[in-house]
């Protein structure tokens, strides 16, 4: 499917006049239209929705209507509805309009519009991810400050529980998008030799959907917060104040955004690879990203359903989770965890494959056992659908199923082990080029083995009876999602920074940050393993005096992480603005994104590349067997 060179034939099409309403729509108009809609609908709803016996339900309905109005207004104001409307009326995009939508010649303004260029969307996601991590990190510091103080109890429980819930929710969103957002969008299409993603306008949609819910999320502060963790367990969520409605709305919209992004990335990888790039020559990063979004695609709608039901219970008196009237808390838990377990692999796998992409480059050695990596990734993805009830061993739902779920869960250790095999096999007898991205490879190995092993403890049913709901679990999932996941994302950031920004990320500051974060991380979460083993429950704002030392240690570690992260943030900002200018391929890597100039031109390649081998052709070939 070779493409011709782009010719800008402006004589054939009328000029900017044809661009129409799109040129006037941007982030600002989105906010204005959203706010006006929200206020208007709020007034109308308050008048229309009659005061009855259940005033609390009335407030939920008004809040829901207001949020819906904000959402529709915002998406209208950003221009998301222009596409479908024009499609309906047969007014398809012409060349100028498509170029305009792609952000041609628009400078910085294109980041504040419904821009379709995947590189713009990638940068937008990068800024969003960094912002989310910052907010989530501040919330974490509030948590740790509270817990580091005497026996806790510094922050009142109502506020504290909300902080914990939001820390969880924001970090979950951030870790889900942290690699597929910035790098799945910016890098992946170039890596496969394409000019853009399969559905450029859906790309913009997936980003702006997430932005649209951020004010809704922020509004929870004024709406009483949330009493439950990010997992939104009913019936506790049903009891909660109006802030829970914001939570519900956020989840529903985020699920739609993920589905859209998942369809986009999967189709792009499956249908738009360059000529000659058969599956055995496709970089592992593509496999892993596709595996992640393809897993999310059927998983997140299940979570979405649980929230639709929760909204119906709260706003309309439905009884999905009301046992007196036939409902069941176990239904909620099943729906949540059917999503919840695949979701952790949605988070983890892109981080692992980013590390697998980095390792050959910095070890100067081919990726070891490409096939085993594929088996590992897809083994994990496949098995992850069958393990969810290990989160429910002590729920009492189905004690007879505990054994089978223990089996499936422990089986996952086998494909997971293959991922280690691949990374270790690659660094074995290779170089260790001690640049920033390579540091993350080693940190991930260290953290992932601890995270994985502690997961095995939890997979044992009687062990879980002792450890479930304790800080041990919190430490375990921070080790996997943050120690392995976030570390991989930071490695990816250091690795692809030169391509995305045209500058090198400051090595010195990066190293200082790396050590502060990793050492701080180890201290924080080993302190947490300790208090968990000793019997401290999770999600508590105060605790028995025996847990004091462990919490103090954790808090000291947390402050260390925070300082390290702030240093990294400052490194990102200063490097982006005036760091060392990067050449097109500072790492000497072989994947296609490094074959383009930096900055990457609007349509990536002047001539689409043809691929003849896999991108791990390093080292001296050994003599072949006869």
């Amino acid at each position: 499917m070779a493409s011709e060179l782009i010719t800008e034939d402006t004589t054939r099409h009328s000029a900017n006049k044809s661009v129409g309403i799109i040129r006037h729509l941007n982030f600002g108009t989105a906010i204005i239209v959203g706010a006006l809609s929200a206020v208007t609908v709020n007034r109308i709803a308050t008048k229309l929705i009659i005061e009855g016996d259940e005033t609390w339900r009335r407030h939920d309905q008004i809040v829901m209507a207001t949020m819906l109005a904000w959402f529709i207004g915002f998406m209208t104001g950003i221009g998301a509805l222009v596409g479908p409307t024009r499609w309906f009326f047969g007014k398809d995009l012409n060349h100028d309009e498509a170029m305009f939508l792609a952000g041609k010649d628009m400078g910085l303004k294109r980041y504040f519009r419904y821009t379709t260029d995947h590189k713009v969307v990638g940068i937008q996601y990068l800024i969003l991810t960094i912002s989310l991590f910052f907010i989530g990190g501040v919330l974490a510091m509030l948590i740790r400050t509270n817990l580091g103080h005497a026996s806790g109890g510094l922050i009142p429980p109502q506020v504290y529980n909300s902080i914990v819930g939001f820390h969880g929710l924001i970090m979950i969103i951030a870790t889900i998008i942290m690699i597929t957002g910035p790098f799945g969008n910016f890098i992946l299409p170039i890596m496969i030799g394409a000019r853009d993603m399969a559905f450029p306008r859906l790309n913009a949609l997936s980003f702006w959907l997430v932005i649209s819910v951020l004010p809704i999320l922020a509004a929870t502060i004024a709406l009483g917060g949330i009493p439950m963790g990010w997992s939104g367990y009913n019936p506790l969520a049903d009891q909660g104040p109006l802030g829970v409605d914001s939570y519900i709305f956020t989840i529903v919209i985020f699920a739609i955004s993920s589905a859209v992004a998942g369809a986009n990335i999967t189709t792009t990888a499956m249908k738009m690879r360059a000529r000659g790039m058969n599956w055995s020559r496709t970089p592992l990063f593509v496999f892993g990203t596709v595996a992640s979004v393809a897993l999310a695609l059927p998983a997140f709608p299940v979570f979405m359903l649980s929230q639709v039901m929760s909204a119906m219970d709260r706003s309309f008196g439905a009884n999905f989770f009301n046992p007196e009237f036939g409902g069941s808390a176990w239904l909620y838990e099943n729906l949540f965890w059917i999503m919840g377990h695949p979701e952790v692999y949605v988070i983890l796998i892109p981080a692992v494959v980013a590390i697998m992409e980095i390792t050959p480059v910095f070890a100067r050695k081919p990726l070891f056992s490409f096939n085993m990596a594929i088996v590992g990734i897809f083994g994990i993805v496949g098995l992850s659908i069958f393990v969810w009830a290990h989160h429910m061993y002590i729920s009492g739902w189905a004690p007879l199923l505990n054994g089978p779920f223990m089996l499936t869960t422990e089986l996952i250790s086998i494909p997971t082990g293959l991922l280690f095999l691949v990374i270790l096999g690659t660094i074995w007898r290779g170089s260790v080029w001690t640049r920033l991205p390579m540091l993350s490879v080693y940190a991930m190995l260290f953290n992932f083995i601890i995270g994985g092993v502690t997961g095995i403890f939890l997979s044992d049913v009687p062990e879980d009876a002792a450890l479930h709901g304790s800080m041990f679990v919190t430490a375990h999932f921070h080790y996997t999602l943050m120690g392995a996941g976030l570390t991989g994302a930071l490695g990816a950031l250091a690795y692809w920074f030169p391509k995305m920004t045209g500058r090198m990320l400051d090595e010195k500051l990066g190293r200082i940050s790396f050590w502060l974060v990793q050492v701080g991380f180890t201290v924080t979460f080993f302190g947490m393993f300790a208090v968990g083993l000793m019997g401290q429950p999770r999600r508590v704002e105060a605790y028995d005096i025996i847990f004091r030392n462990g919490n103090l240690i954790s808090t000291i570690g947390a402050y260390t992480i925070f300082i390290g992260m702030l240093i990294l943030l400052s490194a990102v900002i200063t490097s982006w603005r005036n760091g060392e200018i990067a050449g097109p391929n500072p790492w000497g890597a072989q994947t296609l994104e490094w074959m383009t100039p930096t900055p990457v031109p609007l349509e990536n390649f002047e001539v689409l590349p043809v691929v003849t081998s896999n991108p791990y052709q390093y080292g001296i070939k050994q003599e072949s067997s006869s």
């Binding site: 490409f370 729920s395 080693y442 009687p462 790492w587």
Partner: protein, 269 residues
Amino acid sequence: MQMLSETDEETLSSSPKRFSSFIARKEVQQALRAWVFWAVTLGGLGYLFIPHLMSDSASQTMDIVKSTFMTFYYASVPVAAVVLGIATQTVLHNRHTGTTPPPDENPAIETNQMANIVWVMISSVLCVFLLVWGLVVENVVAEPSRAANAMVVNVTGQQWVWTFNYPVAHKDTNELYLPVDQPVIFKVQSKDVTHAFWIVQMGIKINANRGEITETAVTPNKIGVYDVRCAELCGLLHAHMQTRVHVVSKANYEKWLAEQGSVEQWPAS
């Protein structure tokens, strides 16, 4: 397409010869030393610290919890030591610094059948071990629930207090009293949201659900006072939803049971 190194080619010939030549290689020796270092360090640290962290045991169930933890820990130490050992060897001996990439002169090993097979085999053996251990202990831990002489205590969780009901004596309390060496089955439910009934030192935990009755069982085997905590976020005072369990001699238990009066339940908010 697999490219085999000379030494890998040898692996296809005679077994003991190639194994000893594999072991004799410099980098393998270095990695083995690193492996020993990590195995001893991790094993030693675990041995020193972990048993002290886990609560005192007041039941066979908790004994099993602790021994399971230690066994799994010691089983995972050699595995972790492999990962850390290889990582350490490379960092100590193959470092390349500077702004130019390392020279492209490493062996282009794309796979190694022996490594793949051994790795999968060892993972599978470990997995089977974990599973068998898990099924066995799950069965042992369930023994109190099958005991013929088990007594029943009804547990009710509500925001934010535990109430215990002794059906035989029609007695309600907020602190749990149990006779030593007597299997007890807890029938647990909730009045409002989902809680989790957790006796820390006995290693048992089960959710308390509204509209359902769940069960867990244990045989306390040590006299003393232990902790009951809530292990499922249940709203405002989740952190304070705690009480104590007193394990006493049979005689003292009978005496306590006969005492008049029930504790007033905390009114539901």
